[in-house]
């Protein structure tokens, strides 16, 4: 059965982002999702950071403090191997969910 909860969707988006851009801070992740989805998906900080910490705890992402261009320290996240596997599974599950929903919508 495919997972279709919202938390799972956020995880999928974050994991996918980190697969596309190897290393990003939280703000960067939020911007990336917003930009790529052409402002359709707005990520709430209130969900993003707890999710990032939870995913780090599960070993899907790892983090490191990096000093950026403007000499400010920021926490950058990276996808782990474990996270890559999780992403593949989440993508598959998402596709199944979409197929299921599509089938429902097309049923006449």
């Amino acid at each position: 059965m495919a997972r279709n909860d919202l938390q799972g969707t956020l995880d999928l988006l974050v994991l996918k982002t980190l697969a596309q851009v190897p290393s990003l801070h939280g703000y960067g992740i939020a911007l990336h999702i917003q930009r790529v989805s052409q402002d359709i998906l707005q990520i709430e900080e209130g969900s993003l950071y707890p999710a990032l910490h939870r995913m780090e705890g599960s070993g899907w992402v790892s983090s490191a403090w990096v000093v950026g261009e403007n000499k400010r320290r920021a926490r950058f996240y990276k996808l782990t191997d474990e996270g890559r596997k999780q992403l593949a599974e989440a993508e598959k599950s998402w596709e199944q969910l979409m197929n299921g929903v599509q089938a429902m919508l097309r049923f006449a």
Binding site: Y27, Y49, A74
Partner: protein
């Protein structure tokens, strides 16, 4: 790594919180920065970012919660999951916990014993800081001479040492006869005492249990002789009556006042911990040991020293200073043997814990006992492997639902850690009981030894905090040891694969079954090794009970007259003649090292017929004896003659040798008139002796074996100073010995005679050691065998249950029940056979190594002359082990025979 970070986070919450804050802050600033780039003013930008962000402290809390949940909650859920896992399989859990309880219990008990002996400080005031003086000599001499110094030497250290304070001195145990006030002289008590320096009690004990300790006057003069009683003696003799304080005890015609009782816990500072009956000031030494006043002799090492570091000094400074002082003293006394090092070790119950032999014994015992734990771990690994395979499905499902490998690994390890801790807790209970038993047995054994004069032996093996910590560490280590491999294996399990095959069928997981075979093989190797060692030692024990030492033991007594070091020759002659004249005494002899009192050996050269000379490997053992010795000890001369009295008095170079020696030196030749050389007593030369007689073989050096080479040289018949005086009585040993003591006392009131039976003294000690060793090995083997049996039972049972379908197919295709049985047994017996083979080789090797030691003439033969490769023991115990293994695998294998082909094929 993540786990560590969480753990770190848990202890360092402050830091984590500030990190979260910083992360959120950087987010806000980046957004504000972007807003500014888009044209806002700084104030506007910050405000907009804030608005978008929402309540930062609420968000911070949510992030914290996410962090926290992963740390603690998942840990709790691991434990819940583990407990559930254990409860689901009560049978397996029980077996596992019991197995561990035994194995950990044995290890903990050993550690408690080791701790009690080597680590626990003496129960004295501020024990942690108390150090025992030990010196290391150039000659490499070890033992007593490392700990004892003369009284003048002690005073020298005390007045010169700047780095230590409270330097105290205490003598060896001195045997005396004490007559309590009001008792008659005939009712004297055989007592043990120690003389101590003036600061002994003030430095080591808080206050007396009753009365007081010594006052300065007691130490300065012999005018007011005072003694302090030990608590056990007070209890035993006076029934803890406080009225004894102020009463007197007469020793050697000196009347001592009992001024106080030492505290109950105070057991003195002896190593080994023998508690004297009372203590006396060193000023009274000459009165306690009349004729042997040693307090003025600078080279008579009689006291050992204990000290504390003076404030500001560290141990290495103190050791360096004492070494310098020891060397100064040695120089001043013109000592030949130079002190090359001084160590100050924490004062424990036994002194020689630094000695290489002690460490060797401890390490080898630890290895053997560790083997038991290893067997137990192998069993549990096997069990977990078997159970894990059944749980593959469950694990695969969890895996598919998104549990990471790490998380599964953690859960599986938590489970085995839980098992380990439960086993450890039960093991601790086992060891509480066991160490109590060991303590009681040890105490009784030592106290029953007549040679120690019945001094109370104090040892405390009750497990303490160190033992708890040790057990805890052991339990955790054990849990990881047996749980890690299965956990790694099963957390790896590929979800899809496991779900597809739904449990396993024939012929898969070859690497896993290979591991099981390896574990089973290892178990049987260890078990057979322990079993054979125990078997050989028990053979030795059996022989030790019936062994004929080759001389009389029951009627023979060693006489200790407790007189000074230099009695005159005339006095000695008079005593010997007097004893010889007693009607109860059959014979009186003098010997330098009679059986059980140590060995006397010299390098030897055998002279052949044509002037050829052969150096004897390992040297020869011997004794210097008076001509009456053979008659006294009832050692018959087989050939030739005894020494004449004249030869004995003049010390002529003639010798009597044992039968074995004759056979070994001059096989198939007449030994009489042959000659051999012994290394000179002093210097490098050789002394030549002529053989005049051959005595029957005996076990002089060691009850465990007939001396391979033993010579008797003559010594003067009446001079017993420096030697041992031996008598043989005619009638009942007990009453005769008492009569001899009485008549000696009657003849000279200064004498304090003390008779020790050869049978009850030395020989008993030697037998006891062999018994202890054999019982110990037997116990270990008794533990190892059932553990190995349970191990193979579990594996075969699992094997059968896994191969039900295969067996069904085989039977459907026409295999007979016998065929199936032999298939299962063949497969399960292969690792057993290999393991047993290995154990066999191990046992042969160990036994041969032990046997090789016998080349040293003094080395004990723990098997009492039994064969080191005793075919009965080796073959018999191998068969026993094989039948246990067969039986253990037959029971589950029988199930395979009953498989109904149709049911089996349907079962998946």
């Amino acid at each position: 790594m993540e786990r560590f970070r969480r753990l770190w986070a848990f202890v360092n919450r402050e830091r984590v919180n500030s990190e979260i804050e910083e992360e959120l802050q950087s987010h806000l600033e980046m957004r504000a920065h972007d807003h500014m780039a888009a044209g806002m003013t700084r104030e506007q930008a910050v405000r907009a970012a804030r608005l978008q962000f929402g309540n930062p402290s609420a968000l911070k809390q949510r992030v914290q919660a996410a962090d926290f949940a992963l740390g603690v909650e998942s840990f709790l859920s691991d434990i819940r999951y583990g407990v559930r896992g254990c409860l689901k399989n009560v049978g397996i859990t029980t077996v596992a916990v019991l197995t561990l309880a035994l194995a950990i219990g044995v290890n903990t008990t050993f550690f408690a014993a080791f701790e009690g002996v080597a680590l626990k400080p003496l129960p004295v005031k501020d024990a942690g800081g108390l150090l025992r003086f030990e010196q290391w000599l150039e000659s490499g001499t070890t033992g007593d001479s490392q700990f004892f110094v003369s009284w003048p030497e002690y005073q020298f250290y005390r007045s010169h040492a700047r780095t230590v304070s409270n330097l105290v001195a205490v003598s060896r145990l001195i045997s005396v006869v004490g007559v309590p006030e009001g008792a008659s002289a005939e009712n004297g008590l055989a007592l043990q005492t120690q003389v101590v320096s003036d600061n002994y009690f003030s430095s080591l004990a808080d206050s007396a249990a009753a009365g007081r300790f010594f006052v300065p006057e007691n130490h300065e003069t012999a005018a007011a002789p005072a003694i302090v009683l030990s608590y056990p003696f007070w209890q035993r003799q006076f029934n803890k009556d406080r009225a004894v304080i102020g009463k007197t005890l007469r020793v050697n015609n000196t009347v001592f006042t009992m001024v106080g009782i030492a505290p109950r816990a105070f057991i003195g500072t002896g190593a080994p911990p023998l508690v004297p009956d009372f203590w006396a000031p060193v000023a009274m030494q000459a009165y306690l040991e009349p004729g042997h006043a040693w307090t003025a002799l600078p080279n008579d090492a009689q006291v050992q020293m204990l000290a504390r570091l003076r404030g500001g000094a560290d141990r290495s400074q103190a050791q360096a200073e004492l070494l310098r002082l020891a060397q100064d003293w040695g120089l001043a006394q013109q000592r030949k043997d130079k002190t090359i090092a001084v160590t100050l070790a924490h004062a424990t119950f036994f002194g020689e814990t630094n000695a290489p032999w002690f460490r060797g014994v401890v390490v080898s015992l630890m290895v053997v006992i560790g083997l038991i734990l290893l067997i137990a771990c192998a069993n549990l690994t096997n069990m977990l492997m078997a159970r894990g395979t059944m749980r593959r499905h469950e694990i695969a499902v969890r895996r598919a639902l998104g549990a990471t490998r790490l998380r599964l690994l953690r859960q599986l390890l938590t489970e085995s850690l839980l098992l380990g801790l439960m086993g450890g807790a039960c093991g601790l209970a086992v060891s509480f009981w066991a160490s109590h038993v060991v303590q009681v047995v040890l105490q009784q054994m030592v106290q029953s030894l007549a040679i120690l004069g019945g001094a109370a032996f104090s040892i405390n093996l009750t497990p303490d905090l160190k033992v708890f910590v040790y057990t805890l560490l052991l339990s955790v280590l054990t849990g990881i040891l047996f749980g890690l491999y299965p956990a790694l294996q099963f957390s790896k399990a590929d979800a899809a694969d496991a779900l597809k095959s739904e449990g396993s069928t024939a012929g898969q997981h070859t690497n896993r079954s290979r591991l099981r075979s390896l574990l089973i093989g290892g178990q049987f190797a260890i078990s057979l090794f322990l079993l054979i060692s125990a078997g050989l030692l028990l053979q030795g024990l059996r022989r030790s009970l019936t062994v004929d030492p080759g001389f009389e033991t029951r009627h023979v007594f060693f006489v200790n007259l407790n007189i000074g070091p230099q009695p005159s020759a005339a006095f000695q002659s008079r005593i010997v003649e007097q004893m010889r004249a007693m009607p109860l005494v059959a014979s009186v002899a003098v010997s330098f090292k009679p059986p059980g009192t140590g060995t006397y050996g010299r390098p030897a050269i055998i002279e052949g017929n044509h002037g050829s000379e052969t150096l004897l490997q390992g040297g020869a053992l011997g004794d210097r004896v008076s001509p009456d010795y053979f008659q006294t000890m009832q050692v018959p001369l087989i050939r030739g003659r005894n020494f004449t009295r004249q030869e004995a008095e003049l010390g002529v170079a003639v010798a009597v040798i044992s039968q074995s020696t004759a056979r070994r030196f001059w096989p198939e030749e007449d030994p009489l008139g042959k000659r051999f050389k012994l290394g000179a007593q002093t210097g490098d030369g050789w002394e030549e002796f002529e053989v005049v007689g051959v005595a029957r073989d005996a076990r002089n050096a060691n009850l465990t074996r007939i001396d391979p080479v033993f010579f008797y040289l003559p010594t003067a018949p009446n001079q017993f100073s420096g030697n041992t005086l031996i008598i043989r009585v005619k009638a009942d040993p007990g009453s005769s010995a008492r009569a001899v003591v009485e008549s000696l006392k009657a003849s000279d009131p200064k004498l304090q005679p003390n008779l020790v039976s050869l049978e009850e003294g030395q020989l008993r000690l030697q037998r006891l050691l062999v018994q202890m060793l054999a019982v110990f090995a037997g116990l270990l083997a008794c533990l190892a065998l059932p553990l190995a049996a349970v191990g193979i039972y579990g594996v075969v049972a699992y094997l059968v249950s896994q191969r039900t379908r295969e067996i069904g197919i085989r039977m459907a295709l026409g295999s007979t029940r016998g065929g199936v049985l032999s298939l299962i047994l063949r497969q399960s017996m292969r690792p057993v056979a290999i393991g047993a083979g290995l154990g066999f080789v191990l046992a042969v090797t160990a036994s041969s190594l032990l046997h090789a030691f016998l080349i040293l003439p003094g080395a004990p033969d723990l098997l009492f002359g039994g064969s080191f490769l005793d075919p009965e023991v080796f073959a018999g115990l191998s068969c026993l082990l094989a039948s246990v293994a067969l039986l253990a695998s037959y029971i589950p294998a029988r199930k395979a025979m009953r498989v109904e082909p149709m049911n089996a094929l349907r079962c998946d």
